[in-house]
Symmetry: none
Subunit: 371 residues, 2 copies
Amino acid sequence: MKDGMNSRLLLDCAKSCILASSPVFRRQQFLIRCVEGSIDHQPLSRDMQVLRSIEVDPENLIRAITPALDHTRHKGQAGNIAVIGGCREYTGAPYFAAISALKLGADLSHVFCTKDAAPVIKSYSPELIVHPVLEESYGVGEENKRSISSKVLAEVDKWMERFDCLVVGPGLGRDPFLLDCVSELMRHARQSNIPIVIDGDGLFLVTNNIDLVRGYPLAVLTPNVNEYKRLVQKVLNSEVNNEDAPQQLISLAKQIGGVTILRKGNSDLISDGNSVQAVSIYGSPRRCGGQGDILSGSVGVFLSWARKHILSADSKSHLSNKNPTVLGCIAGSTILRKAASLAFLKKKRSTVTGDIIECLGQCLEDISPAS
Amino acid sequence: MKDGMNSRLLLDCAKSCILASSPVFRRQQFLIRCVEGSIDHQPLSRDMQVLRSIEVDPENLIRAITPALDHTRHKGQAGNIAVIGGCREYTGAPYFAAISALKLGADLSHVFCTKDAAPVIKSYSPELIVHPVLEESYGVGEENKRSISSKVLAEVDKWMERFDCLVVGPGLGRDPFLLDCVSELMRHARQSNIPIVIDGDGLFLVTNNIDLVRGYPLAVLTPNVNEYKRLVQKVLNSEVNNEDAPQQLISLAKQIGGVTILRKGNSDLISDGNSVQAVSIYGSPRRCGGQGDILSGSVGVFLSWARKHILSADSKSHLSNKNPTVLGCIAGSTILRKAASLAFLKKKRSTVTGDIIECLGQCLEDISPAS
């Protein structure tokens, strides 16, 4: 698979009319990469069965991008992640995303949330850096909105350049004034070329204003079933087509200008508009809320690592022609599923999201030992 | 016992004058079902000794209603529970009830509490979704009561249809304005046919306004000794009769129009006005506060599961003619006692409610392995 594609794949490539010169071809190949674990819990769709081929083995990928640990490294080099989320109503989600980043090996994990949410999120863990800077409408008079919005932006901008990735949305809520501020934050992050993983209420925001991410290759959307449905309706003006899910996902990602989309489901499907990769290794049958937050934090860390790996790797790296946001999604999806599986072995029905987070480290160590 | 009753039971049935056609007879049979464990810690009353018979084995019951876990399930399908409780004074009780639901396998667990209580309850665990929506009188001017009450109701109504069960009362307090709002919430839940488990201060509320639950078969009351005493005085206008406890419990449940009552005691007695079931397996001699909250959360989960099981089960299910609220009480009482027993083995006098909650998962796993 390294230098070419088999005839079935070529046929699909021809269909999609995206064959071009060799480097572009490699980058844009129309490839369904299907990563299977030992337990395949559901039959794959027609397309997936036809195109069952592995180009990126997720464990090899994780080993390749996970940074070596040695005494020469400085604080922050293994990742500095910022979660934008946490409001009066929701505090668990941003905590799960931020602590997952730390537990995977990021050096620093920040949360930017409302003033009401900050003491609670701080109380979950002294490991996080929690900034009480966001404001909801109820605390802001109409006449102050402009000045408060500027202040919020200035507070986050002070830190922006230091972040390897923003995770926007866990527990963000839907307050209009808050979402306006976050839209502006996303524009600033784009100007600084900082990757943005968007989940939860961040997807609500983006679905209603696609231009926030349109054409930004460092944006990752991680919709669940319902969020994906709204996104397809809004962008493609059609309904979800499960019969040809990979093709529709490619169309969607392409339509938004090459953002990466991780469509969560029994198999997670990942596309940047050029290829589709499925992650189907078995996770857990437990559906406790919060697992999506682990995923968004994990994708944030892995895509940062993949980006650094690719930027620093010599030309021999087999990943150098890959999209780091796609690699981050493959790695994040894989580690969540492995951790969920391990937690379920231990805690069974009683498994909660915190139990899964406690398994992240061991799962990463099993794949990529720290020393 | 499946298709008939012995002569003693028939005699009791005749006494109660509720013999009717066969299906009605089965549903309304006047049966004392006495579930005994290996350690019988106190002599049963005369009636219980006479009528020691098991129709529903609680472990078989738990196995039957606990939903299978598989990859096809979505978040929420294993249960979405809401606890209404938590005020300036009390925060532990709603946490215990809500986290117990999660630890038994519910997917989502919400708490609706006052604004003062919310940050504290949130800080106990990021796993819960805590809504700071209730208001106490001290924060509400007379002129604002109507608008604030409407706002509280609207906040909860947004979520109402998603809940499989409300647990009303843990740490609710007795503030008159707050209780008025909760009364209205209960009326809305009834309109949506959502089961309601009522404990603690919720029982104070209901005892003073029986119409809130009268004739609602999806209501469960879980009174302790004192709460039961007040209920008997109010509804039956008499004192508690321990000599004929099962008969009095049946009369009480019938008088309130077929609600289910779980009378907590050395043996828990459960009745919906048609039959009485006792759960007497040995729990723990430790009487740390909070065990009633575990019970209310557990009953909420199990009755939701029982209801789904019965609604979806084919006609062959041996539970299809049973009352799901009664089944939920039997299962909840059983799992609490087993967990309390296991926790006491480990922690002895030092056992606190959190230790019992940590044993819920293992006890359920012992009875109904997740895979």
